[in-house]
Structure formats: C-alpha cells, structure tokens
Symmetry: C2
Subunit: 187 residues, 2 copies
C-alpha cells in the first residue's frame, strides 16, 4: 500500500506502470497535504539530501517499476540520450507544476474541481465519456487546497447544473462539454 515514507532513505525511483498513486506530506500540525497524483508513465521518488520528501501510497491496485537510485544515476551518466529524455520529462513536469501553482490559489472551488477533472480526463485519454476518479473526496480536497465539504458542494453544484453526472462514486461523466469547457478554461 505504502510505496515509501517521507524522511526515509531514498534508495529507489519508481515508474508507474498501472494504477494511481498519491504523494502526500504530513505537517507537524497534523494536517495532510496531497501534493500529487501519479498516473501511468509518471516517474516519482525524487529525493532531497538522500531522503524522500513525501510519502507515496497506492490509491488503487498499482503496478510499479522500481530502479535503484544509484543504478539510475549510473545509467544516466553512461547514456546521454536517456539522460536527455529524462531531462525533457523533468522540465515538462516543471512546467505542469508551475501551471498548477498558477491555478490553485487563484481559482474558486468549482474552477479547481473542473481543472482536476480535466487532468483526470487527459490521463484517461480514452474516448469514453466516463472518467475514473479512484481517489476519495478527501484526497481531492487536500490536493486542491479545499475542505472536503467544499469539494462535495462543488461536485453537487455542477451535477445540479447538468454539467457533470456521477454514475458511480468514483466515476464522473461530462454531460455538457461546452459548459464544462467554459468553466475549466475561464481564467
């Protein structure tokens, strides 16, 4: 269930092959902040001073590739092309992270939720209208910097407005794409 815990020695880097993993940090105050959801193809386990900075925990059943950090370093040193690929991946993540930084804190609850669902949709990238949303409302709230009540109210509001539908607790369907676009992309 737990892949690694924060503040423990970082021995390995992971690549998600299947499933969803969450990365979070527990604060001294007892609050828990979900900082990222890792989807297939995502690399995670980057450390600081040899220690993991977050705890990584599977949200669904997940299959991961595991590479020892020193092995990876050795590989990168010997394979310039691989390193370049790696660099591209990290810079891409940096951009995404900054995009996220802009959005969170500047948008209201509904805007943040719409943004989150769009991310899920991009991940899923199946043509189907039904999007898997395996994480709990509480995790979503923590990720978006909202209370779980606010997430609940936002989902229900969009459901009542006929923008979204929830065929199951962990499935969301975009009923009115045009309206959803407007909400998601406005500012």
């Amino acid at each position: 269930m737990v892949v690694y815990r924060e503040d423990t020695p970082a021995t390995s880097v992971f690549i998600n092959a299947e499933g969803v993993v969450k990365a979070f940090k527990d604060m001294p105050s007892g609050r828990r902040f979900v900082t990222a959801f890792l989807y297939p193809q995502d690399v995670f386990g980057l450390a600081e001073n040899g220690l993991y900075v977050r705890t990584a925990q599977a949200v669904t059943h997940a299959t991961l590739y595991r590479i020892r950090t020193d092995t990876l370093m050795e590989m990168l040193r010997h394979d310039a092309e691989l390193q370049f690929q790696f660099l591209c991946k990290v810079t891409h993540e940096l951009r995404e992270s900054q995009r996220q930084t802009i959005a969170v804190g500047r948008r209201d609850a509904i805007g943040r939720l719409a943004m989150f669902i769009r991310q899920l949709q991009r991940q899923h990238q199946g043509g189907t209208r039904d999007i898997e949303m395996p994480m709990s409302r509480s995790d979503i709230a923590s990720y978006l910097g909202l209370s779980l009540e606010s997430v609940s109210r936002a989902t229900r509001t969009l459901e009542r407005r006929g923008v979204l539908a929830f065929p199951g607790r962990h499935v969301v369907r975009i009923v009115n794409p045009a309206q959803f676009d407007r909400i998601e992309s406005t500012l």
Copy 2:
C-alpha cells in the same frame, strides 16, 4: 526592460547574473499573473513547442547571460556532466515549485507574505537584516495570488505587531525574528 514576450519563438535561454526579473502571463480576461521572480543564478526561458510560455521583464537593472537554445542543446548533448548539472538544477526547481504549490492556496495572506519575505532573505543571503524588495506590492500580490490591498494590509499588520519594519518602500527588516519564524513556518 522586456527580455522576451510570451508566445514568441524561443531562441535563447537566459541566466540571471545580477538583478531581479519577473516572469508573468497575461490572461485573456486581462488579469496578469506573476509566476516567478528570477534572482541571480536562476535559469529561465524554457519553452513549450518552441514558444516562450511567459513574458520576462526586468524589475531592477539586470545583467543576463544569453545562450541560444540550439547551442545549449548541442552543448548538453556533447557534455554529459553539464547535462547532469542541468538536470540537477531543474529537479531542484521542480521541488521548489511544488513546495510553492503547497504553500500558496493553503495559507492566509500573512503566511504567504512571510513565506515570500523568507524567499527574499534566502536570495539576499547577506547577513544584514535589511532585505531588498525591489518589486511593487502589485507584483507581490499577483505572485502570491492575493489582491494588492491584502498584501498592503498584511505588511502593515506585521509592521504594527513589531515583527517587520519598512525603512524604505523597497526594504524590509525583520525586527522580531522569533515571531517571524513562527508565522513563516507554521503550516
């Protein structure tokens, strides 16, 4: 004054040698979001699809190194060690960016301001108590996701509480470090 504009071809990457530069994005709505302040040693100008994603503009007089993007790419391909340095720098920025993501949106105005001043202090890293703060309140507000009025209220509140002093409009002094620590590091 303007180093480059968003949505223009990204021909060069820049390294700040001296001064402060801001990077911002103008939204269709007319709002402007400051996404980063670049201090000495910072690399900026990373692009997406060959176009700059932000506009970069000097806040103070600034001296920059400029490297053509294709030249940099060539250098990276031929110098594995340099590329590795580059990778380390980018991953470090990724971590910082994520730290930022956590903080903004989860803290109140005073907490965000304290965080920002701490960043300035780390940049400055002179032992002096007086910290240069060359950017306008409006830029700070935009960076922190607050209105400029909220920034003003936060600064004045901390001044009245005897935590900070403003010997000049663009200079801040931490009068009570212990109390400042508590504000800055609490959650």
